[in-house]
């Protein structure tokens, strides 16, 4: 009995340590973002701000730090690459799950191997191709790369599609529906839950991606969230209260997405990782 109590105490003690380790680094950045320049210089990082509603650093970060432009560009890239990735991913999964054809195994392997390649390394050579296509310093570069090299969603679709009975396809086919109609009017609508999961997982990945926009879109007005924040390093190098505000601005949407869409995120990550 006593042993059980100590075991359970140890459990809660370790959890009580894990919570501040996870949250405290973020909390102190929130503190800094709400302090005035003078207050920041005077107080320890561990001391909460005197005025919790001092948003002036956020205003500076938003307006002078190009964060507005960053959010707009991120949204544009998100919208186009998600729509593209969903169509390409569902079509690939449909072909791989519903057809028996020579070369199927090879195609499957091609997608699988591509998912193992570290993306940053590939840019050494991919850059030359994107450059030759005339897409350097355009949003299309990032959109093309995000929708063209997405393998995780294909796995999410493949897993889900296996649970849609083939008899549905066969019945429609006997009724004269062609393969495109089946894809468009039966498979795609039934894939909705998988599409929701893929949109969220892929959306978070695109929102967080740093190197592709950094490499392909160096123009100042083409900054996305990650690269706009990264550029705070130069001009605001010593003004930590401004950098802190920019950092919090980037994290807040992630918090909201996580709080409201947890279930999809957990499911999608498990599906994507265990290929």
């Amino acid at each position: 009995m006593i042993k059980q109590i100590t075991a359970s105490t140890a459990k809660y003690v370790s959890l009580a340590i894990a919570v501040p380790v996870s949250l405290f680094p973020l909390l102190v950045v929130l503190f800094a973002s709400l302090k005035t320049k003078e207050e920041y210089g005077r107080t320890s990082p561990l001391v909460p701000p005197e005025n919790w509603f001092n948003f002036s650093n956020f205003v500076t970060a938003f307006t002078r730090g190009d964060m507005v432009q960053g959010f707009v560009n991120t949204l544009i890239i998100l919208a186009f690459s998600l729509v593209g990735a969903i169509f390409l991913g569902t079509m690939a999964a449909y072909a791989l799950d519903r057809f028996v054809f020579r070369g199927r195994g090879v195609v499957y392997t091609l997608f699988l191997v591509a998912s193992l390649i570290p993306s940053v390394l590939m840019q050494v050579a991919t850059f030359q191709i994107v450059h030759a296509m005339g897409l350097f310093n355009t949003r299309q570069a990032a959109i093309l790369l995000f929708m063209g090299t997405d393998v995780v969603s294909i796995y999410i679709f493949l897993q889900f599609m296996a649970s849609i009975p083939i008899s549905l396809d066969e019945a429609a086919m006997l009724d004269g529906a062609n393969r495109w109609t089946i894809y468009w009017r039966i498979i795609l609508p039934l894939l909705k839950p998988a599409i929701a999961t893929a949109v969220i997982i892929k959306g978070i990945a695109i929102y967080n991606e740093f190197y592709i926009p950094f490499l392909y879109m160096p123009a100042r007005d083409l900054g996305v969230i990650a690269t706009s924040l990264y550029r705070f390093k130069g001009p605001y190098g010593a003004q930590w209260e401004i950098i802190a505000a920019g950092t919090i601005l980037v994290i807040v949407p992630t918090v909201l997405v996580f709080v409201f869409l947890q279930r999809y995120i957990y499911n999608g990550l498990t599906a994507g990782a265990v290929k």
Partner: protein
């Protein structure tokens, strides 16, 4: 086929599916009719029509560049010049004889050790949160959340944490350990440990969620039987949990190794590779895009790619995919 499925599709405007089902029943031989050759051709081409775009982009953006890496690696190309001078295996020779290359590759060892620490922490919390704990979802969310945060934001959070007089030093001062504080990112003997620690903070949540999912899919009867046999928690962990999640642990090992070899974002954002924190991938992209030595950079990329693929191949041999038999 269940009526539930029919209902769903009918709602989406495909009422004809229901008719189709009754047809199947009336004419079971319908599908076996001889096909004209034109239809045969159409049948062979259809899957490729669906694959045209996704496969085309995959080849354009992954396999064509991969082939180009091989080609560039045999040249001294600078990335701009119209002509690419063929220099044979000189880049490979330079890569394998340059001690600097081994030095940056060894930086990965810090992250590899970090990855093992991270797996141990993840396994511990996955185990205790798979038992009866109050506020389970709250704790799960808190441990997992760092994984979702933007890498640049994480970089800044930890630059702030490690800076002289920053969060970490202040906490040490609070508990009377200020003598321990030092240049966490400025000291070459410390910088990689600080960065690997940041990486542990970022990725533990991912491992944790994978392990937790695997533990929760172990049938509950196994624990009940163990309880009846009087096995304590420790025995249950070794004899039920660990064997039950073997495959996910194996997978995480491989992700840890390939992840450690390919470390890029955290050190690039936080130190730019300074103070001896440069990793192999940082060196590769700097070589290609700052020093314009695309030939040598391609060689480096290829060699690391080969290592990552071999490691993954070994994993697939050691832990074969159990589900493959089902499909």
């Amino acid at each position: 086929m269940t009526d539930h499925h029919l209902g769903t599709s009918a709602n989406d405007g495909i009422s004809s599916v229901a008719v189709g089902r009754s047809l199947t029943r009336d004419r079971p031989t319908a599908r076996r009719r001889e096909m004209p050759s034109r239809l045969k051709f159409l049948k062979a081409v259809t899957p490729w029509a669906f694959l045209l775009l996704p496969l085309g982009l995959l080849i354009l953006l992954t396999y064509l560049p991969a082939a180009n890496l091989v080609y560039y690696s045999l040249t001294s190309w600078d990335g701009i010049d119209k002509t690419k001078e063929f220099i044979g295996l000189a880049n490979y020779h330079r890569m394998f004889t340059d001690p600097e290359m081994y030095r940056v590759l060894l930086v990965s060892v810090y992250y590899l050790v970090g990855a093992f620490v991270q797996m141990a922490i993840a396994l511990y919390f996955a185990t205790i949160l798979s038992s009866n704990v109050r506020f389970k979802n709250f704790f799960k969310g808190i441990i997992f959340f760092p994984y979702l945060i933007n890498g640049v934001a994480i970089g800044f959070v930890f630059l702030y944490l490690f800076r002289p007089g920053g969060t970490f030093d202040s906490v040490l001062g609070l508990v009377g350990l200020e003598s321990l504080s030092r240049q966490w990112l400025g000291d070459p003997s410390m910088v990689n440990i600080s960065l690997a620690g940041t990486s542990v903070w970022r990725y533990t949540g991912m491992n944790f969620v994978l392990f937790l999912g695997a533990i929760q899919s172990i049938p509950a009867e196994l624990y009940e039987a163990a309880e009846l046999d009087g096995a304590n928690h420790w025995r249950q962990f070794w004899n039920i949990i660990l064997p039950g999640i073997q495959r996910v642990v194996g997978l995480s090992f491989i992700l840890a190794i390939s992840g450690a070899l390919a470390v890029f974002e955290i050190p690039y954002v936080m130190t730019g590779g300074g103070n001896g924190s440069e990793t192999f991938v940082i060196k590769t992209v700097t070589m290609a895009f700052t020093h314009h030595k695309v030939g040598l950079a391609s060689t480096m990329a290829l060699v690391l790619l080969a290592i990552v693929l071999v490691v993954t191949w070994i994993q697939r041999k050691v832990f074969p995919d159990e589900r493959a038999e089902l499909t």
